[in-house]
């Protein structure tokens, strides 16, 4: 099974790191294949930025995302740019505070995760991406939580590991809550 994921936001949010954490969890600590590619403008910070991850049980031949099964959106600009690419009835994880204007007619399973707000609550807005990863893990069941934590360990600076793991837990909790609410 091949799952195509696109993460969109702006430079400086840790969009590419997010993709790397997902890919590492799958192919280094898990036994799936994974691939991450990114694209960004010439600016180092602030410009539109996307990271694409493909996770598959088999060898990955074509290395690009053609139509994402899952879209993670962390900026209005990325929302406008990418939302139409999402597969019909695909999964959309979106930070509602960063994307104030959302389409009403979208045929997708939409999960709103206020990642930036949750991260701010932890004192560091910068970990919003890891909050999103936590929610992602809870909602999609694509990852083993232990492997994801290993991946975070591998991908963040030691000094910020505790903070990132907390961010992951908070996001995971939030994700689980959404699912429970949706199910009931």
């Amino acid at each position: 099974m091949r799952v195509e994921i696109r993460i969109g936001g702006f430079g400086g949010q840790g969009i590419i790191r997010t993709g790397l954490i997902l890919a590492t969890a799958s192919c280094v600590f898990g036994d799936k294949n994974a691939i991450q590619s990114a694209s960004y403008g010439p600016e180092s910070r602030g410009g539109r930025c996307k990271s694409e991850v493909i996770i598959s049980d088999e060898d990955i031949d074509f290395p690009k995302v053609e139509q994402p099964d899952i879209l993670v959106i962390m900026s209005q600009e990325a929302y406008v740019g990418y939302v139409d690419d999402l597969k019909e009835n695909g999964i959309l994880l979106v930070d509602p505070d960063l994307v104030p204007n959302q389409r009403k007619d979208l045929k997708a399973k939409i999960y709103e995760v206020p990642a930036a707000k949750i991260a701010e609550g932890l004192g560091k807005k910068i970990v919003a991406n890891v909050v999103m990863i936590g929610a992602f893990a809870a909602i999609t069941n694509l990852f083993d939580v232990g492997q994801m934590k290993e991946s975070i360990k591998r991908n963040v600076p030691k000094a910020f590991l505790e903070l990132n793991l907390t961010a992951f837990e908070k996001g995971y909790e939030h994700g689980k809550n959404i699912i429970t609410v949706k199910a009931s």
Binding site: C27, I35, E66
Partner: protein, 385 residues
Amino acid sequence: MVSQREVLTGKHLMQGDVACAEGAIAAGCKFFAGYPITPATEIAERMARRMIEVNGMFVQMEDELASMAAIIGASWAGAKAMTATSGPGFSLMQENIGLAVMTETPCVVVNVMRGAPSTGQPTEGAQQDVMQSKWGSHGDYSIIALAPASVQEMFDLTIECFNLAETYRAPTFLLADGFTGHLWERVVIPSPEEIKIVERKKPVVSPDKYMPFKPDEDLVPPMACFGEGYCVHVTGLTHDELGYPKTTDPKVQHKLVNRLCEKMRKNANRIVRTYESMLEDAEVAVIAYGIPSRASLNAVKKARESGIKAGLLRLVTVWPFPEKQIEELATRVNAIVVPEMNCGQIVREVERVAKETPVHLLSKIGGELHSPSEIFEAIRRAAGI
């Protein structure tokens, strides 16, 4: 024998450029000279951090002319040497690539190709320097070029580039592309003893009997390096087997230049590597190299599902050109499709070798990869469906 510090044995998620640098270190590279350029900079950055750890030497030169000259010097000083660049830098290197060819200097040049001509598209991948790698410097000569299609191959083929460079005493190119260079994928690095490393052939005679450019039967002369007491003179001028300039004797030029070309032709069987998928009963063959071979494989599978007998020949070695393999393939398929990220370069070589068999170019420039469905459509058209 290389140590654990040189070989990061294990499973990693790695960027293509970084995997290339690690491949070089695993191959025993002890000297890297380079100049920053997108999308190859990460190779230099990795080398800057790693070379000192493995008792190697990293130097950032003032330009690519100097980088190429420096690795030639380092190679003659006994080190396995590499530089890495992209199109604009590769153009500057052509001068001393010719010098490396003429002086039979083992060295590895990585070209992470980007959209061109000129400054072009710095962040977009391309395959527009394939012919330049073959013919970019002036004169007649031959080189070796390999095209990686994955991050794993950025690692594996860099090692192979070193082994081939040291075996055949020629500049050897890793023709990567910006997409693969920046791609993150799993790389499995084996233990040091599992990695095959080739060391250069040294003279077995005493210095007074040594002729630095007298070839063995394989057309490759054993190489004494500076500081080994062999008193070698090296020149970019046409030279005799002693290495001395003989610039007006037609016989000397004839013998030398023909051998430089013949060296690769004669050893092509040992150098050339291709991969075949589903070609046994194929009626349409896709011939691809580098990153488009991945979409090609997907497209070939799609074609099979829809009842078209398609197969893939992937060229790991681009130069010397896998003539025999393609010549043979052309006799048993009805049509050939060649997807490349340029306006049509390798397709000319395929046409030359395939003779009567129709060859269809699927050109793609701009930075996007061929999609599997585009290649599938091309296969369908070639099959006459």
